[in-house]
Structure formats: structure tokens, C-alpha cells
């Protein structure tokens, strides 16, 4: 019992000492972080210097940077396509999109998810980094129910979620941008750095837009987005059949001959159908199309010209 008594005194004492050391460290850290919004220039410099070594890939792009890239990519997309203005349809699309996003792996982005309809007969769906999503009128017309539209939206949220857009930025550009950002400690850039950064920003936008609009994503990203689409759709309660039905309508679509939009930038629908079927085959009982959802879908798209 005596031995236990000594241990009982020794260990708590050691523990108390280590607690006090740990607390002081934590407090110090907390103080630094507490001042986060207005850190001193020396702290900022140290922070920025160390970030220089730490930031190297697309994954190191901050949410705010992603937002600014997404804004400009959206502006470039909208310089090529007019917006289809129909308030009730836009609201329906945004509500549906938000609902799907809630059940995705990335429901929150810097400024949230926003959706617009593009006034074109071309079949297309595009997503800019950060959650700016564009669905063409031509694509909407090919959807027969909410399940199909939800699956297209889920596919785009999949791209945003997995940061596929950001991954199309050339690595050398990012490394150079991170170097400039890491060297300049001030919150506002000097004219030389700003000019360099603006050029890199432009280059990054070019990389993303070229991929989205002209070249298309690497096939593996499209397959991944399909997988995520089936996963998110299932999580909220839509049938993954929506995605299969949508892809099926694309098979042999006459407009595919013109090699525009979606057809130019996506792998063949037949190939994607096979893959989605394989992934969903083992899932057991799946949700089915619901007449209430189809009714509100039809009502929202009724005036589509």
C-alpha cells in the first residue's frame, strides 16, 4: 500500500506539471490565433514565410482563393453564354441544388452553391470552382423528372467537391503564385507583385476554362463525378436511376453529331452507363421516382422555351 501511496503522489504531481506547461503553450497558440484577423506584421511575416514551404499543390489553394478563381471563371463562362432569365425556374434549381449539396461531402464552400440556367439549346452543365454551377436550357429539356436533373446537379457538385476544376491549373503556375504570395508579407500587394499575380491568375483561369469548355476533364474525373453523383443522390433519397436515365437519353442524341458542349467534353454515355451500373448493382433496394417530385419538376419547367 505504501508503494501505491508514493505513486499516487508522484504521478499526479508530474501530471500537474505537464498540464501547466501544456496550458501555457495552448494559451500562447490561442493568443496568436485569437488575433488572427489583425496579426502583427512580424507574425504575419513568419506565417507567410513558413507557408512558402508548405503550399505547393491545388489542395493548398484556400477557400477564398478558390472563390475568386470561381468568380472569374464564371464571368468567362457567362461571356460565352447568355443567362436564361426565369425567376421561378432559377429558384427551383437553386433550392434543388442546395438540397443535394446538403447531402454531399462538401455542403459548404466559401460563398455557397449558386445555380444559373444558360440560354442555349446546347446540352451542357458546367461548374466553376467554389460552387458556381451552370445548367443549359438544352440539358433541362432532356430531363424528364427531378431525379434526372438532381443527378446532373449531383455530378457537378461532385466536380466542385473533389476540386477537379482547381486540378486543371498548371502546377508551375501555382508554385510561382505561392512563391510571390509567400514573399510579400503585406496584405495589399505592391504594383510589381500585383502585376505578376494578375498574370498568374489569368493563366489559372485560362487553364480552368479551357478544361471546362473546350477540352473536358480527364476521364477519371468524369467517372469519379458520376460515382459521387450516385452517392450524393442516394444520400438524399433520389434513385441513382436518374443518372442512368439521363445518360441513356444522351445515347444516340442527334445533337451529339454537332460535337458541342457536353458531347465534346464528356466520355461516351454508354461507357458511363456501364460504370454506374456496376457501382450501383450491389446496393440492394434503391429509392424510386416519386410523383410529387415529378409534378413540381414539371411545374417549374413548364414555361421553358
Amino acid at each position: 500500500m505504501r508503494t501505491l501511496g508514493i505513486k499516487a503522489v508522484f504521478w499526479p504531481a508530474l501530471v500537474v506539471v505537464s498540464v501547466s506547461i501544456s496550458c501555457s503553450v495552448v494559451e500562447k497558440g490561442a493568443d496568436i490565433l485569437g488575433e488572427a484577423g489583425k496579426i502583427s506584421p512580424s507574425d504575419q511575416k513568419a506565417i507567410v514565410q513558413s507557408s512558402q514551404a508548405l503550399r505547393s499543390t491545388f489542395a493548398d489553394i484556400t477557400e477564398e482563393e478558390e472563390y475568386y478563381i470561381g468568380r472569374a471563371v464564371s464571368a468567362l463562362i457567362l461571356s460565352q453564354y447568355p443567362v436564361y432569365q426565369n425567376e421561378s425556374l432559377t429558384n427551383y434549381l437553386n433550392t434543388l441544388g442546395r438540397a443535394v449539396a446538403y447531402f454531399s461531402s462538401r455542403p459548404e464552400t466559401y460563398a455557397g452553391y449558386h445555380f444559373l440556367v444558360l440560354d442555349t439549346e446546347e446540352v451542357n452543365a458546367l461548374s466553376a470552382p467554389g460552387g458556381f454551377i451552370f445548367i443549359s436550357k438544352g440539358l433541362l429539356k432532356r430531363c424528364r423528372n427531378e431525379e434526372m436533373l438532381a443527378s446532373v446537379i449531383a455530378h457537378e457538385i461532385g466536380h466542385v467537391s473533389a476540386k477537379h476544376g482547381l486540378q486543371s491549373i498548371k502546377k508551375s503556375r501555382l508554385v510561382e503564385a505561392f512563391r510571390i504570395i509567400g514573399t510579400e508579407a503585406a496584405r495589399r500587394y505592391g504594383s510589381e507583385e500585383l502585376a505578376q499575380l494578375t498574370e498568374l491568375f489569368e493563366g489559372a483561369l485560362g487553364d480552368v476554362v479551357e478544361t471546362l469548355v473546350v477540352r473536358g476533364y480527364d476521364r477519371k474525373f468524369e467517372y469519379e463525378a458520376d460515382e459521387l453523383a450516385a452517392k450524393f443522390a442516394l444520400a438524399i433519397g433520389y434513385s441513382p436511376q436518374g443518372l442512368l436515365d439521363f445518360l441513356q437519353t444522351m445515347v444516340g442524341d442527334s445533337s451529339s453529331v454537332s460535337a458541342q458542349g457536353w458531347f465534346r467534353t464528356h466520355p461516351s454515355a454508354e461507357d458511363r452507363i456501364e460504370r454506374v451500373k456496376t457501382k450501383t448493382a450491389s446496393l440492394g433496394k434503391l429509392p424510386v421516382e416519386n410523383p410529387d417530385r415529378t409534378r413540381r419538376f414539371e411545374k417549374s419547367l413548364a414555361g421553358l422555351k
Binding site: 507557408s51 475568386y68 464564371s74 461571356s79 443567362v83 446538403y102 500587394y189
Partner: protein
């Protein structure tokens, strides 16, 4: 016979404190604005509105991505993992100081990188690129209650299978 039991309790108690301090995870809000909610759902009532850079202390996490957390002042609520960045303290880095662990999140807090200033500079160079619709797009706000109603009426989410 002496009673070692209270000391043992003390040991266990203090050890628990140490473990909690060592395991303390600070979360930093990385999105422009979000909410601490009373439950692990986007349409649960709002406890506190939060903005980029705000700090919380993690209490527990669910596999679906929701984190129970505490804000300074002690209020407890739920936040989604996609809205926060985890800031871990490296307690072994005593001599190096905490600044050596700075990462992209600190750059974000400092408002660095591709920011408003870079966008302004880009726009000055490309007056032909309009941001009007981008701003209009961002102005579309759908309240969480509306989304909840949409999910409910569509027999989705927790209402799936409901009559």
C-alpha cells in the same frame, strides 16, 4: 491502512484533464459565413452566426461530417466539417514556437493570395468581362427553411418513405 483511493481518483482526474488538453482541437471557420446550429442539420435552428476566421473548440464528431463544437463564451452547437479547418497544436514544438506550423489556413486568415485586389487588377485589364451576372448569381439566397420544406415535400432526406 491508509486510503490511497482518493489519490487514485486524483490521478485519473488529472490525467483526464491532460488528455483533453492534448487532444484539444481548434477549428477555424474557412467559409465567408456559416452558422453554429442547435442540431447536426443545416435546417436546425441557428445558435450563432460565424464568419471566416472565427474559432471553435471541437467537442465530438459524427461520421456524417457534423462536428459538435464550443465557441468562446461556452455556447455549444453543431457545424459541418466542410466549413472549418482543423488547427492542431504541436505540443512538442516548445522551442520552435507555434508559428513554425503555419499553413495555408494562416494565409487565408491574413487575406492573402488570389484576393479582391487581384480580381480588381484583372478586371481593370479586362473591362470586356462582366461580373454583373456573377454578383447576381451570388445574390440568390435560399433560406435553409425553404430547402427543408423542399426536402420534406419531396419525401427526401429524413422524410423518405413517408406518406
Amino acid at each position: 491502512m491508509k486510503k490511497p483511493v482518493p489519490s487514485l481518483f486524483l490521478l485519473i482526474g488529472v490525467a483526464a484533464v491532460v488528455i483533453s488538453v492534448l487532444a484539444a482541437e481548434i477549428l477555424i471557420v474557412k467559409v465567408q459565413s456559416t452558422n453554429l446550429r442547435s442540431g447536426p442539420k443545416f435546417y436546425a435552428p441557428i445558435v450563432q452566426t460565424l464568419k471566416a476566421g472565427d474559432r471553435l473548440e471541437k467537442i465530438s464528431a459524427q461520421p456524417d461530417g457534423w462536428i459538435q463544437a464550443k465557441i468562446p463564451g461556452g455556447t455549444v452547437g453543431w457545424i459541418h466539417t466542410s466549413a472549418v479547418q482543423v488547427q492542431k497544436f504541436d505540443l512538442l514544438a516548445l522551442d520552435r514556437g507555434l508559428k513554425t506550423q503555419a499553413s495555408a489556413s494562416e494565409v487565408a486568415l491574413a487575406g492573402k493570395g488570389f484576393n479582391k485586389q487581384v480580381e480588381e487588377s484583372y478586371r481593370a485589364k479586362h473591362a470586356e468581362i462582366s461580373f454583373i451576372w456573377v454578383d447576381r448569381m451570388l445574390a440568390i439566397k435560399i433560406p435553409a427553411e425553404r430547402v427543408e420544406e423542399f426536402i420534406k415535400n419531396g419525401k427526401l432526406g429524413e422524410w423518405r418513405g413517408a406518406r
